[in-house]
Symmetry: C2
Subunit: 337 residues, 2 copies
DNA sequence: TTGAAAGCGCTACCAT
DNA sequence: ATGGTAGCGCTTTCAA
């Protein structure tokens, strides 16, 4: 690896001061166009690359945005959110530092600390816990922190989250309009904000229509597919299957459909099934689950944009952004027979 | 956002020089323990966070590693590779800058350029093209570049790749030992290194056993599930179904199984099916596809470790690392009847 | 139009 | 044990 040329290297070659080089490369108005041309020429000739770290040190700016997630992949929406953040950040000339906490709070803290030390201009956090005081302690009001993801406290100063009550509205509305009256909501543990909202929304929407809100819960977030199968098996055993089921996750819905299948039943013929998230169905073009789409890209875009304006001190006192899911009708819901 | 304290702030409070503070905080041997204790106390009191950018500027070190991928998620192995890279980098005190090129070469260049400007110590690239001259042009021998991923030229100086020929060895061996003699390999377009290796390996292994290597190819990498279904449909129509099929991707295998199902056939009862990659099956605990596992975490770990040693100038002239897939026997392969 | 001087926050080197 | 000085690569300010 060779040593990288600096503006001084160029200055020496051009026979001017390094200040002139600095200005010329930034296309300052007070440098003659000949000088500029000559300097730019030399710069490309010797393969000069500006040192952003040095520039940022001197301008007290940051060229990077930090992001911390529990993990990439593994049935999370962070892939899509990150892809969008990366794109928008790049458009604006920013790099993204990404850290995977592996759902370990200590590692999360470590990433946070390293990013603060590296002076990211803002931090976008999808925490693995709902208590995020450890993050705030580290960032100490010195760098803006925005929260995304299901664990986010809706009272956070900067947060982008999804209205899961509205998901219930869409789900029940859709099923009701298809003639369903015996509708169940399937959820899993542990009880968290996300699940609670869906549940509340479900109760509201069902009650509004004078229907009893059947709610069933089992299993754990780490394997909602199994939870879906389990609940379905139970209801079949009790001969208590509803005509429609809304599941708190897509995988849970897939589990429901699996279980139905193993009993010779199917969706939507015997039971209508709706999922939630619309994750990874880009991968499975043939999985035709009716579901509620979470606007990952929009959330990502909103997060960077807020981060950018916060970094540039267009001081927003607070900004809580609420996103809505949308209904994607595929082929697992149909008229009630 | 308040202004961040610096070592000078601490120096002023402690009534010592900023040099002493710098040394004390780095636990230098030539500072009295009392002074150290006092300074450390002040530092935590006022919430001091060292500025890594400034330190790196002065030590000519880099605290970050760059990584560029075509996209996160979307049926790629980069999730798992990144998670591991992030963990190992953090262990060593490094941040990872990650960029998603969205399979756009211009965006890939932009990310690369920004990362070089931000002085990443090394760059790990999973390019979206096999010609990576644009990357090298930008990095100009000034920062080490390691390549991972299917498009990697095996002759690259620093590369971590998988021996897909060996995948064929494992697949054919397994099927042969189960008594299968009529074995087909299903692939998709476009023709690339990865596919070619699997194909070559397949031909070798079959020929070695005196068996005709049946190879079928259709569709496109973007939807291998459909390709799998299509080929299966064709062979069923021609009444030419083999007793075992090895697919170039897991999704393709899922497609095969789907198509079989729709004809009342199943794996392994009627046809044994093997996939490739072992991707996202952590998500689907009930998908019990026999497949070839790609060691993503190992590749990630090897990549960071090489990057770190390269950054610290333990100059390796070159380092081509080859990884092997391993057979994961689940429930879609069985004895030939 | 150009550049000398100072400074961003830190470390290295060498006196004291 | 402590600190002055210089310098990392860059920008800003201001004088020439």
């Amino acid at each position: 690896m060779e040593k990288k040329p600096t503006i001084k290297t160029i200055a020496k070659i051009a026979g001017v001061s390094h200040v002139t080089v600095s200005k010329a490369l930034r296309d300052a108005p007070d440098i003659s166009s000949q000088t500029k041309a000559r300097i730019v020429q030399i710069a490309t000739d010797i393969g000069y690359t500006p040192n952003a770290a040095a520039r940022n040190l001197s301008t007290n700016n940051s060229g990077t945005i930090g992001m911390i997630v529990p993990a990439m992949g593994e049935n999370t929406a962070y892939n899509a959110i990150f892809n969008e953040i990366s794109a928008v950040a790049a458009e604006n000339g920013y790099c993204v530092m990404l850290g995977s906490s592996h759902r370990d709070i200590e590692l999360e803290k470590k990433h946070c600390k390293m990013m603060v030390e590296n002076r990211v201009g803002a931090l976008i956090v999808a925490s693995c816990t709902s208590d995020v005081s450890h993050i705030k302690d580290i960032c100490k009001n010195m760098i803006p922190v925005l929260f995304v993801g299901g664990k986010t406290d809706p009272n956070e100063k900067y947060s982008m989250l999804c209205d899961y009550r509205y998901s219930a509205t869409l789900a029940v509305e859709h099923l009701y309009s298809l003639g369903h009256r015996d509708i169940a909501f399937f959820a899993y543990g542990p009880d968290n904000l996300t699940i609670r909202q869906k549940e509340e929304g479900f109760v509201t929407e069902m009650s509004k229509r004078g229907l009893p809100p059947k709610i069933f819960k089992t299993g754990h977030a780490s394997n909602t597919l199994a939870a879906g199968m389990e609940l379905t098996e139970q209801l079949i055993a009790q001969n208590n299957l509803p005509t429609a089921i809304w599941c708190a996750s897509d995988l849970m819905a897939v589990g429901v459909i699996n279980a139905l299948k193993s009993h010779g039943l199917s969706a939507p013929e015997d039971v209508s099934v709706i999922g939630h998230d619309d994750l990874y169905f880009d991968l499975f073009p043939d999985i035709t689950l009716t579901t509620l789409h979470t606007p990952m890209a929009e959330i990502g875009r909103a997060a960077v944009n807020l981060a950018l304006s916060l970094m540039n001190c267009e001081k927003e006192v607070e900004s809580r952004q609420l996103f809505r899911t949308s209904l994607v009708v595929r082929h697992t819901t149909g008229n009630c027979k």
